[in-house]
């Protein structure tokens, strides 16, 4: 079967070319501003959450998405009513993009009852099924069969839908992912696996963790599956290549493995003690200078006459204000009650028992 003849090393960053893709030509100025605003909101939200973490207001893990914003915003912007999204633990960017509010997201980080998961999930476990967003999953690669199931449902119900299932470059060596690729192709399931390749699986570089030729996505050939690679700092390219993959899902019910090259500016998580050891500060600076997705899109939109510096500053200030307000909201919110520890476990306990017998076993009740 034909695979797309795009090799990672040959891919050119071509803002002009991808701007001319139909999916981008149809964008109105307001749509473009919206894309930019979404990227800025993610960055400012995460910068504010980092500040809260450093202040001790947030515990646990905090995996920041800063640097990768064009991937979530670009891919999700192409989706429609029956397109679903699921990702791993670096999930704040996708959450804000699907329309989750900063308040509920920030409050979740603080472990507050007003959080999107009532303080029960934390940073790695954001969910908004009403917005087709199915998490937020903590185990590397563990979400990849779930994404298959979300897409299977679309096919089973005869809907023209898909699932965009995101994973990191460190997840490509998990067995569950390979099992998912096999099933996706074997059963013609409309899933798009998106490898957000930020170059490092925690502190281990791509070259030190994966055996591959040209690209990780090329592994799809072994599963008779279409694949493509994409430069993730260019939101036009991200949208153009996502649209091709989603069309393939919608119209042919065929899966795609799409590898999007990107970069994270922060450590694997905020708790990444070696974040400055496994890569050089120069490497990070170089990316920020030449490939920052927000800067590049801003520059592009100014050149297109869609944006001015003043408008950009206003958007940026609004995002900072919104992030600060969300931190205030989180700080002022109550913690969950002790009773809530045993809520939201069984559907039937929350909605009225359908089975009988004892379902919780607290020792103190003996």
């Amino acid at each position: 079967m034909p695979t797309l003849e795009v090799m990672k090393k040959d891919t050119k960053t071509n803002l002009e070319g991808f701007a001319a893709a139909p999916v981008n030509l149809s964008l109105k100025p307001a749509d473009k501003i919206k894309l930019l605003r979404e990227m800025i909101r993610i960055r400012r939200f995460e910068e504010r959450s980092l500040k809260a973490y450093q202040a001790g207001s947030i515990g646990g893990f905090l995996h920041l998405y800063i640097g990768q914003e064009a991937v979530a915003v670009g891919t999700i912007s192409v989706g429609g009513k029956h397109d679903h999204y699921i990702t791993a633990y670096r999930d704040h960017g996708h959450a804000l993009t699907v329309g989750m509010g900063m308040d509920e997201c920030m409050a979740e980080l603080y472990g507050k009852a007003t959080g999107c998961s009532k303080g029960k999930g934390g940073s790695m476990h954001y969910f908004a099924p009403d917005k087709n967003y199915w998490g937020g999953h903590g185990i590397v690669g563990g979400q990849t069969p779930l994404g298959l199931g979300l897409a299977f449902y679309q096919k089973y119900k005869g809907l023209k839908g898909s699932c965009l299932c995101y994973l990191g470059d460190g997840a490509v060596n998990q067995g569950a992912f390979h099992e998912s690729l096999n099933l996706a192709s074997l059963w013609d399931i409309p899933v798009v696996y998106i490898i957000e390749n930020n170059g490092y699986s925690m502190g281990t570089s791509e070259a030190r963790s994966s055996a591959f030729q040209h690209s990780l996505a090329k592994r799809a050939e072994g599963y008779n599956m279409d694949w493509d690679v994409c430069m993730g700092h260019d939101i036009y390219e991200v949208r153009a290549k996502t649209e091709i993959a989603m069309k393939r899902a919608h119209e042919k019910s065929r899966p795609t493995l799409l590898e999007i090259d990107t970069y994270r500016y922060e450590g694997h998580s905020v708790a990444d003690a070696n974040k400055k050891k496994y890569r050089s500060p120069e490497e990070i600076d170089e990316y920020k200078k030449t490939k920052d997705p927000i800067y590049l899109f801003k520059t592009k939109l100014i050149a297109e006459g869609v944006l001015t510096e003043e408008v950009y500053e206003t958007i940026d200030q609004e995002a900072k204000n919104e992030a600060n307000a969300s931190a205030k909201f989180a700080e002022e919110s109550p913690y969950p009650t002790e009773e809530s520890i045993q809520e939201d476990i069984y559907w039937e306990v929350d909605h009225g028992r359908t089975s009988q017998g004892r379902i919780f076993f607290n020792d103190e009740q003996e």
């Binding site: 199931g149 099992e179 039937e348 017998g357 003996e366």
Partner: protein, 324 residues
């Protein structure tokens, strides 16, 4: 009343639910065109077709996870594990995803999935194929564990499991598939979490689940005839939720208890039950609670030794007589 085998009763329950609800699908290794490795789904693919009955590759983490993902949107997949021992290959999906996605989403998601298959030893297939993980799975909040001992219960419980809105892990037994019991023609459900007193007695309560119930019933007949011991057999049917009331009521009547199960002894189901009995019925007891489990080793292959390793009628009789 007509008799059905355990496997026929399961098949009838599965078929009724397939016909009742378009969201019910069956997936697993060899469940469709091969007619089921243990023939539980025999004839269903021919009758209901590719859309409802699907053969999967040997890929438990992949297809079980896929079922869990589809259930989050409202599908009611019934996933067959050819052996429940293969659950370990899909453990991340079954334990991390199915049990916790509701909690981690603050109650926004539920997983109405059934994962079913045989969980038993005694068939000479060695340690990798003889696991009985009901104790381990019942340890996980968010999951339910059901272990039917008869054809009647198997049918009624599989129907309840499919209609349940939480994940239900349904453990069968290859040694029971061919056994027959009375099963009525008319539709019925057996509620999850309700134990069944399979034999009434006044001298000793045996608490068991799955095939050990059948062994306990045989032992009870011998104990009655040869030792004048009148044994009550409480079939748990469901491990989580657990019918504590049935256990307590029986022990309050007989004042003696023996827990029998095929699990290994350490942290077995009997450990939880005996804790419950001492906690709730301490003053009713005339003797310490006894437990009988598999001998504490991986499942041995050698046939005569495997018979000794697992609870059997002789071991149950000995254990019953040893309750002071």
């Amino acid at each position: 009343m007509r008799k059905l085998t355990y496997r026929e009763a399961l098949r009838e329950g599965l078929s009724e639910e397939i016909e009742r609800d378009d969201n019910v699908v069956i997936m697993g290794e060899e469940v469709a065109q091969y007619n089921g490795a243990y023939k539980v789904t025999e004839g269903m693919w021919a009758k209901y077709g590719d859309r409802r009955i699907m053969d999967t590759p040997i890929s438990e983490a992949g297809f079980i996870g896929m079922g869990i993902g589809a259930s989050m949107l409202g599908l009611r997949p019934v996933m067959e594990l050819m052996f429940f021992s293969f659950a370990y290959v899909a453990w991340d999906q079954m334990i991390n995803n199915a049990s916790a996605v509701r909690y981690m989403s603050g109650g926004k998601i539920n997983c109405p999935i059934v994962i079913r298959g045989p969980a038993n030893g005694g068939t000479g297939v060695g340690a990798t194929h003889s696991h009985t993980p009901e104790n381990a799975i019942a340890n996980v909040p968010g999951l339910k564990v059901v272990c039917p001992a008869t054809a009647y219960d198997a049918k009624g419980l599989i129907k309840s499991a499919i209609r349940d809105n939480d994940p239900v892990y349904f453990m069968e037994n290859t040694l029971l598939y061919g056994e027959s019991w009375d099963v009525p023609e008319e539709e019925y459900l057996v509620p999850i979490g309700k134990a069944d007193v399979k034999r009434e007695g006044k001298d000793l309560t045996i608490i068991a689940h799955g095939r050990c119930v059948i062994l306990a019933l045989k032992a009870a007949e011998i104990l009655q005839a040869e030792h004048d011991l009148d044994v009550e057999v409480v079939d748990l049917r469901s491990i989580r939720p657990l019918d504590e009331e049935a256990i307590i009521n029986s022990v309050r009547k007989t004042h003696r208890a023996l827990c029998v199960e095929e699990n290994k002894p350490f942290c077995g189901v009997g450990a939880q039950i005996s804790h419950l009995i001492q906690s709730k019925c301490f003053d009713d007891l005339d003797a310490p609670v006894k437990r009988l489990s598999a001998l504490d080793a991986p499942a041995i292959y050698s046939e005569p030794l495997e018979k000794l390793q697992l609870p059997n009628v002789d071991r149950i009789i000995k254990a019953a007589l040893s309750v002071g």
